[in-house]
C-alpha cells in the first residue's frame, strides 16, 4: 500500500530549524551587550565632548570677565574703596571736642573758675584744677558734676588751704562718649 502523498512530503522535508541553538537567549544577551556598548560609546564620544565644550565656553566667559577690569584699574578702585571705607569709619569714630567746652561752660557754677585744663579724648576724661572763694562753692560744683547723667565718674583729688582767699581743688571727670559724638549737653 502506497503512502499518501501528504505523508511523503512531510517525511522528505528537512526540519526548518536545526534544534539545539538557543537563539532567543543569544538574541537577548547580545542585545544587552551591544546596548551597553552603545551607551558607553554615546557617553564617551557624544555627551562628554559636548559637556567639555560647554565647560570650555564658560571658562572663556570667566576669563573675559577677568580681563574686563585691568589689574591697574582694580588697584585704583580698591584704593578708592579703601579711602571711602576708612573715611566713613573714622567719621563714625570722630569726636566733636568743642562740645566739651560748651558742656563745661553750661555746668560750671558762676563762682568757679579753672586754672588748669587737660583733656584726653581717647579716655573721655577731663582733668581740671578749679578755684572757688568758699568751700560751699567747691561742694556745690562737685555736686553739680556728680548729678549729671553724661558723667560716668567724678574723682575729687582734694582741695588746699585757701591762698589769698581762694580754694583750689582738683577733679577728674570721665564722661560718656555720647557727649562728644551726639552733642548731649
Amino acid at each position: 500500500m502506497a503512502l499518501p502523498q501528504k505523508a511523503i512530503e512531510q517525511l522528505s522535508r528537512e526540519p526548518a530549524k536545526t534544534p539545539g541553538w538557543s537563539s532567543r537567549a543569544l538574541m537577548f544577551t547580545g542585545t544587552i551587550f551591544f546596548l551597553s556598548l552603545a551607551i558607553w560609546l554615546g557617553m564617551r564620544f557624544g555627551y562628554q565632548p559636548l559637556l567639555e565644550r560647554q565647560d570650555a565656553e564658560l571658562q572663556s566667559t570667566i576669563d573675559q570677565f577677568k580681563k574686563k577690569v585691568s589689574p591697574e584699574r582694580q588697584t585704583e578702585l580698591i584704593g578708592y574703596y579703601s579711602q571711602l571705607y576708612n573715611l566713613k569709619t573714622l567719621l563714625k569714630q570722630n569726636k566733636q571736642v568743642s562740645l566739651v567746652f560748651n558742656w563745661l561752660e553750661a555746668h560750671t557754677i558762676t563762682r568757679i573758675w579753672y586754672s588748669k585744663f587737660s583733656l584726653d579724648s581717647g579716655k573721655n576724661q577731663i582733668i581740671l584744677t578749679a578755684n572757688a572763694r568758699s568751700l560751699n562753692d567747691v561742694t556745690a560744683q562737685l555736686a553739680a558734676f556728680e548729678n549729671l547723667p553724661e558723667i560716668t565718674a567724678v574723682n575729687f583729688t582734694g582741695t588746699s588751704a585757701p591762698r589769698d582767699g581762694v580754694y583750689s581743688f582738683g577733679v577728674t571727670i570721665s564722661f560718656d562718649p555720647k557727649l562728644v559724638t551726639t552733642g548731649t549737653q
Partner: protein
C-alpha cells in the same frame, strides 16, 4: 553538530555576552559617568560664578563710570582731601598753621611723628588664597601743636578744626591759666591726622 554541543555553545556564548555587558558597565560606563558628573559640577559652579560675576561686573562698570565722570573726579578730590593718600606733611603743616592763624591764635611750634599703620577692616574675615584685602590700612600722623591766645580764639580754632577739609582728630589738649593781668593762654594740642597708606 550535535544538539547538546549546540546548546552548550549557545549557553557559553550567552554567558560571555552577559559577562561582556557587565564588564562594559563596570569598566567603561561607570568611570565615564563619574567623569561626566565632575564636568557637570564644574559647569554648574562656573554658571554660578558667571551669574554672580555678571552682577558684580555691572556694579563695577557703574562704579567705573561714576569714578571717571567729572562729579566722580571731584568727589575723589574731596575724599583725598579728607583722607589723603600718604602722610602729606606739607599739606598737614599748611592746614594746621592755616587753622591756627585763621582763629587768631599765635602759632608757636608743631612737631610731627608717624605712628604704625592700623586696619579699620573687620578682623573676623579670613582671606582665601588669591583674594585681596579690600580695605587697606591707614597711617596716622601725630601732630603736637603749641599755640597761644584767648579762650575765644581756642574755641574758634576747635570750630575750624572740626570743619576742616582734611580730617583731624583731637587726641588731647592742656592749657593753664595765664599770668595775672594777661588773657593769653598757652595751648598744647595733640592732633592725629589719619591718611590712606600706600600699598604697592
Amino acid at each position: 553538530m550535535k544538539q547538546a554541543t549546540k546548546r552548550f555553545s549557545s549557553m557559553l556564548l550567552a554567558l560571555g555576552l552577559i559577562l561582556g555587558a557587565g564588564i562594559v558597565y563596570a569598566e567603561l560606563i561607570v568611570p565615564t559617568n563619574v567623569d561626566l558628573q565632575e564636568i557637570k559640577v564644574q559647569i554648574a559652579a562656573k554658571n554660578l560664578v558667571i551669574q554672580t560675576q555678571q552682577a558684580v561686573i555691572t556694579k563695577v562698570d557703574k562704579a567705573i563710570q561714576d569714578f571717571e565722570s567729572p562729579e566722580g573726579k571731584h568727589f575723589q578730590d574731596v575724599i583725598s582731601g579728607a583722607l589723603p593718600i600718604g602722610p602729606n606733611y606739607a599739606g598737614a603743616l599748611a592746614h594746621v598753621v592755616g587753622m591756627v592763624q585763621a582763629s587768631d591764635l599765635t602759632f608757636q611750634s608743631a612737631s610731627f611723628a608717624e605712628s604704625s599703620p592700623r586696619s579699620l577692616a573687620p578682623a573676623n574675615k579670613a582671606l582665601r588664597p588669591g583674594e585681596t584685602e579690600l580695605v587697606r590700612p591707614i597711617g596716622s600722623l601725630k601732630i603736637q601743636v603749641q599755640a597761644s591766645g584767648s579762650y575765644a580764639e581756642l574755641k574758634e580754632f576747635l570750630r575750624t578744626l572740626e570743619q576742616s577739609l582734611r580730617l583731624f582728630q583731637l587726641e588731647s589738649m592742656t592749657f593753664t591759666t595765664p599770668e595775672k593781668g594777661s588773657a593769653t593762654y598757652t595751648y598744647n594740642i595733640a592732633l592725629v591726622a589719619p591718611y590712606q597708606k600706600i600699598v604697592q
